[in-house]
Amino acid sequence: MEVALSVTIGVLVAAAAYLLLARDLPRGLIGFVLLGTAANLLIFGAGRIGTMTPPLVERGTSALVAGAANPLPQALVLTAIVIGFGLAAFALVLVMRAHAAFGSARSEDMHAAEPPDEGEAKDPGIAHQTAHVPAHAQREAV
């Protein structure tokens, strides 16, 4: 069981690394989801794979029944799943907005924040005055 779990985690991380290296943002996002799944399985495995006995305290006793499953990894994984879902949902909406704005979901097509041919970014809030750029600044900015 441990071996199967380890191999699964390894395959998931490998797939995630491959997808995260893509320039296509939705692929990167799927890579993140896979990486989160691998992390959750890893936490689960770190708590040791034991019995299927639910970790509940019987009425009238004050301790877990002997041989119960470890409850802590379950709590951690549950938290991590919720957080990972929230992050993935936000990132998906962001990628959709970016796709709408740039007409592409590939990261190399997005150059608004760091224009490649300009040392300084655009200033969206204020209409540009006629840009009088001193010659030396222009030279160094290029």
Partner: protein, 508 residues
Amino acid sequence: MRQMLLVAPILIPLAASAITALLWRRPDAQRRIGLVAAVLLFAATLALLVEVISGGMVVGRMGNWPPPFGIALVVDHLSAAMLLITGVMGLAVAVYAMGPGAKERDRAGFQPLFHSLLMGVTGSFSTGDLFNLYVWFEVMLIASFGLLVLDRTKEQLDGGVRYVMLNLVGTAFFLIAVGLVYGLTGTLNLADLARLAPDVENQGALAAAAVLLLISFGAKAAVFPLFNWLPASYHTASMPVAAIFAALLTKVGVYAIIRIFTLVFAHDHALFGPIVGVIAMATMVVGVLGAAAHYDVRRILSFHIISQIGYMLVGVALMTPLAIAGSVFYIIHHIIVKANLFLVAGAMRQVGGSFGLARLGGLWTTRPLLGLMFLIPAMSLAGMPPLSGFWGKLVVIRSGLEVEAYVLASVALAVGLLTLYSMIKIWNEAFWKAAPEPAPQPVEWSRAQRLATFVPIVALGGVTLAIGLWTEPFAAFSIAAAESLLDREGYITAVLGPAAARLVEAMP
């Protein structure tokens, strides 16, 4: 009472975030509540710092579960200082955010997100549990995602994509490291980890988990070589957002590195000291060279955040009391100075019409007060005496010389010189050079907006001057913080109690 003080820095922003979210359609009421919450947060963190200085470390058990089973909140000197500075920054930015653009920001949801961000930051500084730290990081991250793309411009979407993608990977690494640490030690409480880590059989696997943590915190702190997201995104945010990001977000990463590597992995210093030292040097150099190449005020300042992070890591690299005291002092000084520079940059654009140095000019003749308010943090950042940055650099460099880390000390000195070059570049272009033709049109703003902009700038400038001219208490506090960080036994006993060993045997 102590327990109330402990949770107040988390509860106040939580309440503010919830209330302002409920008042979604009433931006004016949101703004007022946000300001009140910021004042309360400042007062609570100040009281907590006084309590820690007078009465020592404050430890709280959430739900009254005894550590290491429940989540512990632990506030020592470093945490208390970071909390107070969060309170100061929260207040300064809450006031500044009432300046130009407040209406648009508040309608887009600035207030709920801003207070969630503060809650994530204060939670990260207070917690004594590794998994809980992960949760606070996420709270902070998701709020920062929203704040970064508040205006939904093309620039922000592009910067946001870069910021979000890298941070997503960083958090996944954090989670994997948490899993490994738990598997190796069976605990997530930091004090318990500190107690058990030296005796773990498989030290190689523990070191691997530590490296994963270093990568994840390093990505948040924007250290070399994980800094690319910062200059790609910070300058696109609106100015109050950029200021609070510059002040707090990267510093949470630095705080986590200091906390984890002085407490849990201190026994492995022979391995991690040199690694962090090389990272620190590379971070200083890369940041300052990046800044030298740019002509947009915001981007110059963004690159300087990176460069200054290097100084803060010197303490972890050397692990001497003086070096750690230097790091603590440097963080305190830097947060105030850096946020203030971003606030000044916002004011410069307001009166000069642009962030681009080429399009600015002549501000010294028209706005001498703004010039003065720029000079204080700028010269402090470059380390000119008698301002706060000088003392920070002095302690860092001296701690390097003391342990004969001459390369580190000379890199720190050279980077200081290059920082001065960047600051003088802004000064020459924006303030001294003749105004470009045609003269830039200042943006119209009301008296109240001007007041909201300049009150935080002047106040933070005053704090910088105070730290510089009246250094003694701040230095003494930094040394006390360093001593408490290096006293691992004290931390473990304060959290777990003397009878800790017996409790742990009962764990599955």
